[in-house]
């Protein structure tokens, strides 16, 4: 399931980049150091999740559900809030996108509030998703207005491309 979401997200990102970004601000390839950081963060995150999953599985099958896991499940709002915030922080660091830090703070505030004020989890997830989507849409509209699609095209020799 995670894999499918990952593939869909990457396809969506690359499609959106092709449709919205490249015709407006052009194509750029960054040096390897920059992409290396994204790969490192992704691999580290994958390994960390894998190890945490294995530890939880082994302890659960061996001795019943361990106390730490019960604690995380009981306080699921804090657990989910912390994990999602950490993911936003990592994404912000890896992609150098400052708004991810704002999303991390928003997530943390919302889930900590959810720990004290009870509403079903899905309400918080829908609210968080809607807020992030609205923010993203606002940024996209501003971007499209600021950078209309380029109409002039010319290469280094001053010729029109084929």
């Amino acid at each position: 399931m995670d894999g499918i979401i990952g593939v869909a997200a990457v396809s969506f990102y690359s499609g959106a980049k092709k449709i919205f970004t490249v015709p407006r601000i052009g194509y750029v390839k960054f040096p390897k150091q920059r992409t290396q950081r994204i790969i490192t963060v992704t691999i580290a995150l994958g390994i960390l999740s894998f190890v945490a999953g294995i530890v939880a599985f082994v302890q659960t099958t061996g001795q019943g559900t361990p106390a730490w896991l019960l604690f995380l499940i009981e306080n699921y709002m804090l657990t989910i809030g912390t994990i999602v915030s950490a993911l936003f922080l990592l994404a912000g660091y890896a992609f150098r996108t400052k708004r991810m830090y704002a999303y991390a703070l928003l997530t943390l505030v919302m889930f900590v509030a959810g720990y004290f004020i009870y509403f079903p989890l899905q309400y918080y997830l829908i609210l968080l998703g809607s807020m992030i989507m609205a923010f993203g849409l606002a940024i996209m509209i501003r971007f499209i207005r600021k950078y209309p699609k380029a109409t002039e095209t010319v290469d280094a020799q001053g010729n029109e491309p084929q």
Partner: protein
Amino acid sequence: MNPSKTNDDELNAIQNINKLIHEPARLLIMAHLFVVESADFLFLQRQTGLTWGNISSHLRKLENAGYVAVEKEFIDKKPHTTLHLTDKGRAAFQEYRKNMKQVFEDLPE
């Protein structure tokens, strides 16, 4: 210390500045290409704020000097022109940066 000697040294340092790179528009182009692996015309235009014709004429000069290489490639089956600094261009830009730093460091307060 001989003041006229110092002035001569400073003048020499300024004279060593690469004038091809020193021109503001070309400096902008070189600086942007220096921090990326490659980019296209549109990216340079958006980043520098220069017109297409301006970028084109400056790029021609940089290309003739061997600082910038123009590559035609296909991206999603469409022809696409990308630009990147050559090794000579990177070295020239590093040298320019070093010389400029030297000029400002040598200036008396």
